[in-house]
């Protein structure tokens, strides 16, 4: 068969495939397509978007409703850190949506086999991981900030009858902004765990254990070692930015804590990148 009368691709309209390299900008666009084209993204984010503001209404509502019957100790606790009261439960639950999504973003590539297509299209794997990290972290950060502010304003309105919470007062703004920052960093952290463990179920279990169990039981370790372990455990360190009162076992300031969380994430990211290049896809 002569080349001119052949079937396929060069017979599709001239230079239909375009030209150009798989540079970082293109990978960003491509990773965004990947993220928005699976349902798990929406389900996970809906969990955050609904649960977080809901509890930021429910908790202040219950407290305001019972304000006159509450004992002075409880009132003082609320008055000391009203923002933490508003967002605390919501973020405790909402963070699982982000964590699960973070794990899935990377681990589902392996469980479905998609990783093969991914690294065939972008054999410079670290570049791909970077693009994925940027896209997903930005998404989580933007959604996290929006949801945090929405949640705060809902809580502020609900509290209006019993107390005034001013965004500008004390550490309030830092805590609200911090909630978004925390979710953004947790997203990246979970994604990196997904990249390291590669099995969705295993990685989700790992992250949930860390958030629910390890971060708490670690404080039972006695002595200075316990304090260090407790303070430097990534999610504990990261969550310091969500409050203005930390337990006396916690050795860091809010921003130091966040920096430790970021440091852990960066360290694991480098490890994940190194393994990604080394390991067979």
């Amino acid at each position: 068969m002569a080349a001119t009368e052949s079937v396929t691709i060069n017979t599709l309209p001239g230079n239909g495939a375009g030209s150009g390299h798989a540079h970082f900008g293109r990978l960003l666009v491509a990773e965004w397509t990947k993220l928005r084209s699976v349902r798990s993204t929406y389900w996970s984010l809906i969990t955050v978007v609904l649960a977080f503001p809901f509890f930021s209404w429910l908790i202040p509502f219950l407290i305001a409703h019972n304000w006159n019957q509450a004992d002075p100790g409880s009132r003082a606790q609320v008055l000391q850190d009203p923002v933490s009261t508003i967002i605390g439960v919501g973020i405790d639950l909402g963070q699982f949506g982000i964590a699960v999504l973070g794990v899935l973003v990377m681990a589902s590539e392996y469980s479905t086999g998609m990783i093969r297509s991914t690294v065939l299209a972008s054999p410079r794997r670290v570049r791909m991981l970077a693009a994925k990290s940027v896209v997903f972290t930005l998404l989580a950060l933007v959604i996290g900030e929006i949801v945090s502010f929405v949640a705060f304003f809902i809580g502020q309105l609900t509290f209006k009858s019993v107390l005034t919470v001013n965004l500008g007062a004390g550490t309030n703004l830092r805590e609200v902004v911090g909630a978004g920052l925390y979710l953004g960093m947790l997203a990246l952290f979970s994604m990196v765990i997904g990249a390291l463990i590669r099995h969705p179920a295993g990685a989700i279990t790992g992250v949930v254990l860390l958030l629910l169990v390890i971060s708490n039981i670690i404080q039972l370790i006695p002595g200075a070692a316990g304090k260090y372990l407790y303070s430097y455990e990534p999610t504990n360190a990261g969550a310091a930015i969500l409050t203005n009162h930390t337990s006396d076992k916690f050795l860091l300031t809010a921003w130091e804590g966040y920096a430790v969380f970021a440091g852990w994430t960066a360290l694991l990211w480098v490890l994940a990148a190194w393994l990604l290049v080394r390991r067979d896809a």
Partner: protein, 355 residues
């Protein structure tokens, strides 16, 4: 013997199998051919009582499958290789089947040896490759020493040795007088395996005849002639009214003549021959010719296709492929028009040669 009588299956308004009539006789390998979505799987499922016919019937030695007293002793089937509990060993899987059907334990060892899974019989079937799963499925099918065996795409996942093995197995089973019914998409494989063909298209039986007859009916045969004196020979052949098509490599395809007639001409004229071979179409070509000529075959997909496709299509573009059996929602056929441009048939290397 498997016998289908006016066998029909409808899913809602869709007719999957439409008054199918065919008989699968013992002592030979019967190939069951048809494109995706033609009704092959549905038919096989009805034979095994997995689906109920909307009307008509299909019987195993005269009895519907669900009325058989000991079904595994009558029919062994390989439908889905992975229909095994992944946590169970091959041995236990077969043991469970044997117990459920009152078959002796020794039979399990026999079939495991037969399919060559002996060394992995105690391993979890979940770790099996597709080929090993296929062998396990075959072992299960043969467990009850059935007179009838049915295989759906048996060579899936097998390597060349496995493919040869199962082909010989099927022939051996048929030679023992068993009924062997096998579906496949691989025409080249079927050509080597089957003695008889049942061809289904759009739910209807398009052919039910011996392989040789099927090929002869749906093919154009010619005589391949090579000669160092072709320039002298060709006009002599054309003079007899035979159509002579010169090929690029110096050989000629001669139509409407028997090899002996051509040999006689060459002998009379004292011309040298370097080759004189009767060439039939391959099964694949015959199958394509049959299904392409069945008009309804393509009717489903021609409507509502994009225009860019047609514009983009070169003159000799092969058909856009037809697929069917969308897992969930039945058949949807993308554009597929019959051979658009009278592209000359590809000279397949495995054309039938000889008688």
């Amino acid at each position: 013997m498997i016998q289908a009588t006016a066998l029909t299956k409808r899913y809602g308004t869709k007719v999957a199998v439409d008054h199918a009539e065919f008989t699968v006789a013992p002592g030979k390998v019967t190939g069951f051919l048809g494109p995706n979505g033609a009704g092959k799987s549905t038919t096989m499922r009805m034979i095994l009582g997995l689906d109920r016919p909307t009307s008509g019937s299909v019987t195993i030695n005269g009895i519907p499958y669900d009325k058989l007293a000991a079904p595994l002793r009558e029919v062994g089937a390989l439908l889905d290789a992975k229909a095994v509990h992944g946590g169970r060993s091959a041995y236990n899987h077969l043991q469970v089947l044997a117990k459920a059907n009152g078959l002796p334990r020794a039979r399990v060892d026999t079939v495991i040896d037969l399919v060559g899974l002996h060394s992995v019989a105690k391993k979890r079937a979940g770790g099996f490759s597709l080929g090993m799963g296929q062998r396990l499925g075959i072992a299960a099918a043969l467990l009850g020493d059935p007179g009838i065996v049915m295989f759906d795409e048996p060579v899936n996942g097998l390597d060349p040795e496995g493919i040869l093995w199962i082909r010989n197995l099927m022939k051996a089973l048929a030679a023992e007088g068993r009924t062997v019914f096998v579906s496949s998409h691989l025409m080249s494989e079927m050509a080597l395996t089957a003695d008889h063909l049942v061809v289904i298209g759009l739910g209807r039986i398009l052919a039910d005849e011996p392989m040789a007859e099927f090929i002869a009916k749906n093919s154009v045969s010619y005589v391949l002639v090579r000669s160092p004196q072709m320039a002298d020979l060709a006009p002599k052949l054309a003079l007899r009214g035979w159509r002579v098509e010169m090929q690029g490599d110096g050989s000629a395809h001669v139509y409407d003549a028997k090899p002996s007639q051509i040999g006689d001409v060459a002998g009379t004229e004292q011309l040298w021959l370097h080759e004189l071979t009767l060439v039939h179409s391959s099964l694949e070509e015959a199958f394509m010719r049959l299904t392409a000529s069945s008009v309804e075959y393509h009717a489903g997909g021609t409507a509502g296709t994009g225009t860019t496709q047609d514009a983009a299509k070169p003159p000799s573009s092969p058909d856009a492929p037809v697929w069917g059996e969308a897992a969930g929602d039945g058949r949807a056929q993308p554009p597929a028009e019959p051979d658009p441009s009278g592209q000359p048939p590809t000279p397949y290397q495995n054309s039938e040669r000889g008688q």
